[in-house]
Amino acid sequence: MEKVAIIGVGFTGARPDSPELSYKELMYEAAVKAYEDSNVDPRKEIGSFIGASEDFWDGVSIFDEYLPDQIGGALRPVCSICNEGLHALATGVMHIRAGIADIVAVEAHSKVSDVVNPEGIMHFALDPILDRTLDYNAHVMAGLEMNRYLHEACVTKEECAEVVVKNRANALLNPYAPYGAKLCIDDVLDSTPTYEPLSELDTSNLVDGACVIVLASEKVARNKRAPVWINGVGWCNDTPNVGLRDWGYPRYVRLAAEQAYADAGITNPYDEIDIAEVDDSYSYKELQHLEALRLVDTGEAAGFLCEGAFDINGELPVNASGGSLGMGNLLDTNGLVKTFEAVEQLRGMAGQRQVKEAESALVQSWRGVPTTSGAVMILGNEPSGGD
């Protein structure tokens, strides 16, 4: 299959609020940066524009209407994918491999500060007949899942708190991330219990931001400065039914990873991947995801973490960006923000948080409660992979 590369990235940075900008202006800023970075004229060279969005987060029915102008896509092939940003990137890869376009722009954004009651929107995602009338907050789903994961994998709340300490410290080194902090485990454990075993500091904060990634075919990418190759993509859903899903183990992440590894020709992920940016929208998720990604064996993530293997100067730096705990949670933009970080790292442009000799990266995302939808992407400075 044709190789596809990232030739440009643009990110506004994350902020708890952005009252001076409309969502269109926020998206425009990210798009301008990405097109500048890739040296592409969107009106002449881009053959397909893809946005990841959900109507109720944006407060409009049919967000596709409001997508084209600010990303340069008016009167061009534009479409919305109602999934995570990484699903949209995977869609872009398919567009290039299917010959639809040589250059594709992929966009996602969060203007969650425009939403007065995000909890109400999350609740609206629960099953209307079986779950919604039970009248619980959607975050409860994460509490249920964490409890089962701690039980199955023999992990403690203290170990989950270590994830928060690491990621918020990493965020101190990242100018795009608003939640940098020097914390200790007790700060996390002593924070207000929310949906036990979750505490306040175990949960990422919703923030604003927009991100645009430009993809290109091999032919185009070869003539661009510092292309980063997409060597594998995978995505998967488990069941939406809360009574049937596996609460301890995210099978969808495992299956998405297997698809991406097969695409990239990876057999031993821990040895073949230099850095990982995985979903950590709740602290325990980072550990659970690392195991489902087969980067470590089930039940072993916490041990590696406490030994420092996932630190910026460790053997497998995880969420050097600060992750969602340090960056904030940008809803379906998280996957693109993590991709942005991976590209900065692979290009050697990550400043104070630069990981030494990073040549390959794994990015993983999850759509958050109540979903069982995840995606995985493998990036490298050199193209690699199976057929």
Binding site: S22, R43, G59, D69, D114, G120, R132
Partner: protein, 166 residues
């Protein structure tokens, strides 16, 4: 193809009897207007219609935006436009927003604002016999009194036929 097609329609009687779960979503928003629409709405409060000019394609953009979607560049050359224009198209609506039937029709129209090269926005017509509305008709804004204007599209009450007519 002779197949049994699935699906179980309900008639209105059975529909009333069928079990339902009712739910009213609480979806509330407070959208940031952003640079361009902020200034546009502020202009309306002052009784002025503002457009913005793209230095590249030289179009006058109204409603204004922070960037030209055609040239994909930032735009910032504000221009004050007249509060008169031409009816580009119109409808005579016997439905309100929630599709309830109404006797006195609403008169939505797209108004091309004078001096904006055919560009304009959605608004309402008033002080006019619906039968006499024509595409191409000249119209003028009727403003709310200054003290009632709050920086909203409804600061213009409606557009009425301009003196001199068609």
């Amino acid at each position: 193809m002779s197949k049994e097609y699935p699906g179980n329609p309900l008639n209105s009687k059975d529909f009333k009897k069928a079990l339902k779960t009712k739910y009213v979503p609480t979806a509330e928003y407070a959208w940031s207007a952003g640079h361009a629409i902020n200034r546009f709405l502020t202009g309306l409060k002052e009784g002025r219609i503002l457009g913005i000019k793209c230095r590249s394609c030289e179009r006058i953009l109204v409603p204004p935006r922070a960037f030209c979607e055609e040239c994909f560049i930032s735009v910032d050359e504000w221009v004050e436009l007249k509060d008169t224009g031409t009816v580009n198209t119109f409808a005579i609506s016997y439905l309100d927003t929630m599709a309830n039937r109404i006797k006195k029709p609403l008169l939505p129209a797209v108004i091309e604002i004078d001096g904006a090269g055919g560009n304009g926005f959605l608004h309402m017509l008033g002080e006019v016999d619906p039968k006499k509305i024509k595409i191409g008709m000249k119209v003028k804004a009727v403003w709310k009194p200054a003290k009632d204007r709050k920086g909203d599209i409804t600061d213009i009450k409606y557009f009425k036929p301009a003196r001199g007519g068609v």
